[in-house]
Amino acid sequence: MAISLEGDVPSDSVASPPSTFDISWDRTFRGLTRFFSWMTIFLVLYILYEIAGKAFPAVQEFGLSFVTGTTWDANRGEFGVFPEIWGTLYSSLLALAIGGFFGISIAIFLTQDFLPPRLELVFKNIVELLAAIPSVVYGLWGIYVVIPAMRPTANWVHEHLGWIPFFKTSLSGPGMLPAALVLSIMVLPTISAVSRDALSSVPHKLKEAAFGLGATRWEAILGVILPTSATGIFGALVLGFGRALGETMALAMLVGNSNQVSLSLFSPANTLAALLANNFPEAGQQEEGVLMYAALILMAITLLVNLVGTAIMNRASSHLSGEVK
């Protein structure tokens, strides 16, 4: 029981301690938020547990050879996802490089007074609309527009520069580059929106400081504004990368679903997410476990990317704010 303060206040004061209702409502509210927070954590753990449980027989049977194997043949019971791991990382990194470059450029363009505020808003909304396009539509657009448009150039490059490993094969249809290109458009809104927030949260006084020292606009952007928002922009890239790793539909339609490990940008390939999407309808009991194993690997990769990303961001931001030496 709290100590009553009532006697100590002047008689005409309207101050009163919180009522029992206030207190119990406060407790209920706190209890509810705690319950839902724990539920979220529990849900993640439960999904992990279920998938790991279903994957367990396959993990036991194939072990590490599943990660290093390169064939996927349900009839002969041979399963390996090395090409898919490779394809997932390769396509996502390509998409990150392209989408990151354009996403950050757009973010700079939209935050550094290059446009009147109203146009800035219009452009921002257009870029964010890209995120509203369903991924299957991106897939269709990729198949019927991007690939045909790319083929002549791609094949010309292959003919003339075929000795470079990136252009070693010709583009006969679906393949790594169209997939990565469409993927980069899909991660672009995420990267540009988060980078935009990071860039516009750079305090105005820092910009003034840079300009006050006689910096040109580019010197201010490259020397002060980008380094100051580096943590946030890195976060944008991590988010974009995470999105690219897990993207399924467009890739299943565009990547070619072929178990190959190739540096060539024009060669068909496969990704973990596309593998899962393509194989679950006809999976027998054994293959189901194997697919769960592949799903587990995909989850491990995205989890790792997020953890490492967060760790780097924490270190960088504490360094910037001067908390740690």
Binding site: L206, A209, G212, L213, G214
Partner: protein, 231 residues
């Protein structure tokens, strides 16, 4: 404004002291909707002439702001920033040290030049900003209420520093602290804001040697203001 002197701008809030000061190195060019009429002459040239690059103006006329605003980088790099902008290649460490000594900060930071500029206290950050501004040895230093975010001890240090710096730099300072103007400035400009015509129009009331302005102001307005009858 005379070379090697400190000129102070005083006046009530909103009378345009800061705006006037920021006109002197074309900082206001960054403000949307800003328009400038008139002339500011520096070394006999009009800095608002069409052929003059505002970026070049700011390299000769440095600025210290109201809020300490060090960059989120090391103390050393903060000071070296302006040097790099000016493509200075030689003696960067020596120049950084000289600037930090000039800003009376060297002894406090010499062992931690790699630490973030943001790890310093407010007063130290402001002196770091002064060091950053004087590292390239500009001719003029504009200071926009440099002490308003600082405690009295830090304020006193900055004021001492200003009197030292005027040996080398011409300083213009905006302050709403009348005692500060009296302590540091050789000349003082008193500005006031006219609201009688609807909008807010700031104008210069009186510009005099500091002693004369405070002891024997010509204008009635000035007299009332320094007596504290309005603010």
């Amino acid at each position: 404004m005379e070379q090697g002197e400190i000129t102070a701008f005083i006046g009530p809030s909103g009378c345009g002291k800061s705006t006037a000061l920021r006109c002197l190195n074309r900082m206001n060019d960054l403000v949307r909707g800003f328009r400038f009429d008139g002339h500011v002459h520096f070394r006999g040239k009009d800095i608002y002439h069409r052929s003059v690059d505002p970026v070049a103006v700011r390299r000769y006329i440095g600025m210290v702001f109201q809020q300490p605003n060090p960059f989120a980088m090391s103390i050393y790099n903060n000071v070296a920033f302006g040097l790099r902008l000016n493509r200075v290649k030689d003696d960067i460490p020596e120049r950084v040290e000289r600037a930090l000594r000039g800003a009376a900060l060297w002894d406090e930071v010499k062992d931690k030049l790699k630490n973030s500029g943001l790890s310093l206290s407010g007063g130290q950050q402001q002196r770091l900003c002064i060091a950053r501004a004087i590292a390239t040895e500009p001719t003029v230093l504009l200071m926009d209420e440099p002490c308003s975010a600082l405690d009295p001890i830090a304020t006193r240090r900055i004021e001492e520093l200003m009197t030292e710096l005027k040996e080398k730099y011409t300083i213009a300072v905006v302050t709403h602290n009348l005692q500060q103007a009296q302590r540091v400035a050789d000349k003082t400009a008193f500005m006031y804001v006219d609201t009688t015509q609807g909008g807010r129009t700031g104008y210069l009331v009186e510009y005099e040697d500091t002693n004369r302005l405070f002891q024997d102001p010509k204008e009635e307005f000035t007299k009332q203001y320094i007596r504290g009858e309005f603010s």
